[in-house]
Symmetry: C2
Subunit: 203 residues, 2 copies
C-alpha cells in the first residue's frame, strides 16, 4: 500500500471506525488521529465539508468497488450439475456479503432516515442478490411462478445474511470454521426444494 493520499486514508480509516463503533459514536478527532493527522486539528475539513460528506464518500467508494466486481457470476454457470452450481453460488453470495460487511454494519447502526444514500446502497445490494439467486433457480425450474422463485431466492439470501448478521455485530470477520457445514446444509436444503418444484411444476 504505497503512498496513499491523505483523502484516501481518511475515507479508509473513517469507514473502519464507523464499522467498529458506529457513525455517531466516532469523532472527527479519532478519524484524524487514525489517518495520521494531528488529532483536533481541523485538517480533515480541508478534504471534506462535513462528517456526513465523509460518510457519503465512503459509500460511493464501496459502490464503485461493487460495480468493478460485476459479471463474476457467469463464471460458474453451465457446470450442468444443480448441486455443484448451487454450492458455488452460495459461496459467491457469502463472499459478496463479506465484501459488503463493513457497509452493512454501518447501515445497520444508522437510523434509516439519516442517510438515504446508505439505505439505498443497502437495498440495492439485497435486491441484486435476491434477483441473482432467483434467476438461477428459474434457470433450473423454468416453469416456476416468478413469485415463488423470488420468494425462494429471498429465503436463501436471507439465511446467509442472517448467518453473518450475528457476526456482523462484532467487527471481526468471524472464523470460517462452521461456514462449510452451514453452506453444505444450505445447499442441500435449497436443492431439495428446487428438485421437488421441478417435478411438481406450475407451483
Amino acid at each position: 500500500m504505497p503512498a496513499t493520499s491523505t483523502r484516501e486514508r481518511l475515507v479508509t480509516e473513517a469507514m473502519r471506525l464507523f464499522g467498529e463503533q458506529g457513525y455517531s459514536a466516532t469523532s472527527i478527532v479519532q478519524i484524524e488521529a487514525a489517518a495520521g493527522l494531528a488529532p483536533g486539528s481541523g485538517a480533515l475539513y480541508h478534504h471534506f465539508k462535513s462528517k456526513q460528506a465523509l460518510l457519503d464518500a465512503g459509500i460511493d467508494r464501496q459502490l464503485d468497488r461493487r460495480h468493478a466486481m460485476r459479471d463474476i457470476r457467469a463464471l460458474f454457470a453451465g457446470l450442468g450439475d444443480l448441486h455443484a452450481e448451487l454450492t458455488m453460488l452460495g459461496r459467491y453470495l457469502l463472499s459478496v456479503l463479506d465484501d459488503e460487511s463493513q457497509l452493512l454494519r454501518i447501515a445497520a447502526r444508522i437510523p434509516a432516515h439519516q442517510s438515504a444514500r446508505l439505505t439505498d446502497a443497502r437495498a440495492a445490494l439485497f435486491d441484486g442478490l435476491y434477483a441473482e439467486l432467483a434467476d438461477w433457480i428459474t434457470g433450473w425450474a423454468p416453469d416456476l411462478k416468478p413469485e415463488t422463485a423470488a420468494t425462494l431466492g429471498a429465503l436463501g439470501v436471507d439465511a446467509l445474511h442472517g448467518r453473518r448478521a450475528a457476526g456482523t455485530a462484532f467487527a471481526t470477520p468471524q472464523p470460517g470454521t462452521a461456514d462449510e457445514h452451514y453452506l453444505t446444509e444450505w445447499t442441500a436444503t435449497l436443492a431439495s426444494r428446487i428438485e421437488s418444484l421441478r417435478h411438481g411444476d406450475g407451483q
Copy 2:
C-alpha cells in the same frame, strides 16, 4: 393503560426512542419530554443513576416478559402432521422475533462491547430459538446427527430473522402482506429437507 408510574413511562419511552433513533442518538432531554417531564430538568436522574442504567432496566424488563411467555411451544406439539406443525412453529418463531424486535433493533445499533447485558440478551434469544427448531426437527427425524439438526435449525431461524432484519432497520413493524407467502415457502423448503433426511438417515 391507567396510572403508570413515572419510572415505567421513562423505561417505555426510552426503549421506544432507542429503537427508533439508536441509543447514543437519543438524549436524556428527549426521554424526559416523551415521558411528560420537563425537558432539561434532571428529573430522570431521580429514577435512574445514568442513561446506561436506564437501558439496563429496559433490557431487564424485556427479559422478564420473555420469561413470562415461556412454554407456549407445547401448544402445537402433537398435531401429528409435519407440515402443519412446521407452519405453526414458523408463525410462532416470527411472532417471538416481532416481540423482541425493539430489543433486536437496539442491540443491532450498539457496539458489542458497550453493553454486555444487551449482547447476552440477544445471544440467549437466538440460542433459544435455534434450539427450539432443532429440537422439533430431531423429534421428526430422531436418527439425525445432532450437528445436522442444529445447523438446519439455525438456517431456519436465520431465514426468518433475515426476513425481518430488512424491516428492522425501520421502526415500523412492517406490513404482513407478503409474510404468508414467505412463511409458506419457508415451511415447504424445510419440510422437503426434513423429509429427505428421514429416509436417507444417519446423515
